[in-house]
């Protein structure tokens, strides 16, 4: 793969984390990557959370992604930061593919979404064994927890 394809992140994405936050339980907005119910291991990484209020927490989210990058020695290829949105793209350790982190407030649907996807250089979606390896290597359970807190500007 070359830098150009990494910069455009082509191919099939492998969703790793997806948290959508809404204030209305009956909202038609749901986390797009969530499986239909169940309690299988992966479903924990995709959820629609009910929150008391929608708050612009771009700084908190950027800080969480920043800490995660630092912990794993990753340097972003691209980064965009605004109060209501955030984007970053970064190579993985082995340059097998790129991670893309996103955060966006959608005032129209009264929702917030934060996500982390992976694009393998093969252009294919990762198989479950490789997903589990990524989850463990990059400590995505911890990142998930921190992002869930960050979208509510929760410092805890």
């Amino acid at each position: 793969v070359n830098t150009v394809s990494a910069n455009t992140a082509q191919g099939t994405k492998t969703p790793l984390i997806g948290i959508t936050a809404v204030t209305d339980e009956e909202s038609s907005v749901v986390e797009p990557e969530a499986a239909p119910g169940g309690a299988l291991e992966m479903s924990r990484f995709f959820a629609t959370h009910l929150v008391a209020n929608l708050v612009k927490c771009g700084n908190s989210v950027e800080s969480v992604f920043g800490d995660w990058l630092k912990t794993h020695g990753l340097i972003p290829l691209k980064k965009t930061t605004m109060p209501d949105r955030y984007f970053m793209r970064v190579w993985d350790h082995d340059k097998r593919g790129v991670f893309e982190g996103r955060y966006q407030i959608n005032n129209k649907t009264q929702s917030i979404r934060v996500s982390l996807d992976f694009y393998d250089i093969s252009g294919k979606k990762l198989v479950i064994q490789d997903v589990n390896k990524v989850l463990s290597t990059y400590k995505l359970a911890d990142l998930w927890e921190s992002l869930a807190e960050a979208i509510e500007c929760d410092p805890s």
Binding site: S27, A52, N53
Partner: protein
């Protein structure tokens, strides 16, 4: 009328989601005991009874197999079927039988009078859980040890517990073999009536939740629930959001929240349809037993963990599920649904006695460990607890009486 159950031991056909057919797939792990696998008939009867109460035209299909990749949980569902662990449902069946057997003795000895409802049962929900758990092993020593613990703690004589055990076995014998009960056997008739009704309430909530997922995250019942129309749902849900009573770190997942709400609608429908003959006390007793029964799956889980408490007694540990309402909130909403659909004695269809003690302990513990707690227990929660609990929270000394549900409250 119980709908026809099809027992399949082959693959379920590729039709997905609800299309007039409720699909329940039971699976068991390699560690399942012989006892865990002998309640299929009972599980099928209760499940099909609930499914047909929700949709009389629907067919129930049940499949049994060894677990291949199912997680070690009680149930989950996707658009192919509702998948449940047979071990967990068998545990629920055994707990229901223990509770029903003891309640039958209380009822018959008082000739079914309303005084029955004021009696604090000797066999608590945790006793029933521990006895049911011990009874799944072939080694009788385990059951004897728990039985000794129960008789010592509850002031129950060994003879009384033996009589309850005998009735417990009779319930299983009749249900597992589909045999008629002698109409003159008052104890067994009452025990089976309470057993069936309380199990159907429990199945209604548990299967209603999973049916939401099976039905592509849609509830089969469109009308508003009684807990929502009375404002109880939003208050209890709000306890887990910022500014509420409980720690917000267990974030509410809207899909699970709506699945739970669907479970309460199913429970409401089954409760509104259940009529156990002319005796209103028996109906009330069954709803009370259902609250004690559902305390196990909701507060501790059916594959729960046992731990030693400060008195060195083995007790089940409270289990919090990520994304869900806290266990105490889920049980309070069960209580609210059954109380609001109880036509005769709603004051006793609550979280009474040992369930009340557990609730108070869990609520206090949750508030103590959450520095940002509002510290305010709303009326909607207090309504599900005996009046004595509010008095004790307001300064009156705690006693057994604090947790008793009075008929005349």
């Amino acid at each position: 009328v119980r709908s026809f159950i099809v027992l399949l031991f082959c693959l379920i056909s590729p039709i997905t989601s609800f299309a007039g057919e409720w699909r329940l797939a039971l699976c068991h792990g390699q560690e399942a005991t012989k006892d865990d696998l002998k309640y299929r008939n009972a599980i099928g009867l209760s499940a099909s009874s609930v499914f047909s109460a929700i949709d009389p035209k629907a067919v129930t299909t049940m499949k049994v197999r060894q677990c291949v990749q199912e997680p070690d949980l009680a149930c989950y569902a996707d658009d192919t079927a509702i998948y449940c662990r047979e071990e967990s449902f068998s545990q629920l069946i055994r707990i229901a039988a223990w509770l029903a057997a003891e309640r039958a003795f209380i009822f018959v000895s008082r000739e079914g009078s309303p005084a029955t409802l004021g009696v604090a049962p000797s066999l608590t929900w945790t006793d029933a859980y521990l006895l049911a758990d011990a009874d799944r092993y072939p080694d009788a020593g385990k059951l004897n040890r728990v039985a000794n613990q129960v008789t010592e703690q509850r002031g129950l004589s060994a003879d009384s517990l033996n009589a309850i055990y005998s009735l417990y076995l009779d319930i299983h014998r009749h249900i597992n073999n589909n045999t008629e009960v002698d109409p003159d056997n008052a104890y067994l008739n009452v025990a089976i009536a309470v057993y069936r009704a309380s199990l159907e309430y429990a199945f209604a909530f548990l299967l209603g939740h999973e049916a939401y997922h099976f039905n592509n995250n849609r509830c089969h019942i469109q009308s508003a629930s009684i807990i929502k129309s009375k404002g109880i749902w939003s208050v209890i849900r709000g306890l887990q959001l910022k500014g509420g009573l409980y720690d917000t770190s267990n974030r509410l997942d809207t899909v699970e929240l709506k699945a739970d709400h669907c479970g309460y609608k199913w429970l409401q429908t089954v409760s509104e349809k259940t009529e156990l003959g002319a005796n209103k006390v028996l109906n009330t007793l069954a709803r009370k037993a259902a609250i004690d029964l559902l305390a196990s799956p909701l507060l501790i889980g059916l594959k729960g963990r046992l731990e030693k408490n400060i008195h060195s007694n083995v007790v089940p540990a409270v289990k919090v599920l990520p994304g869900y309402l806290y266990p105490q909130s889920r049980l309070a909403l069960v209580s609210a649904t059954l109380r609001l659909t109880e036509p005769k004695s709603p004051h006793v269809v609550k979280l009474c006695n040992e369930v009340s003690k557990a609730m108070v302990s869990i609520i206090q513990d949750a508030v103590t460990h959450y520095p940002d707690s509002s510290g305010i227990v709303p009326d909607e929660v207090l309504a599900e607890l005996p009046a004595g609990v509010e008095k004790s929270w307001n300064g009156a000394p705690w006693s057994e009486k604090s947790h008793v549900c009075e008929i005349g409250e």
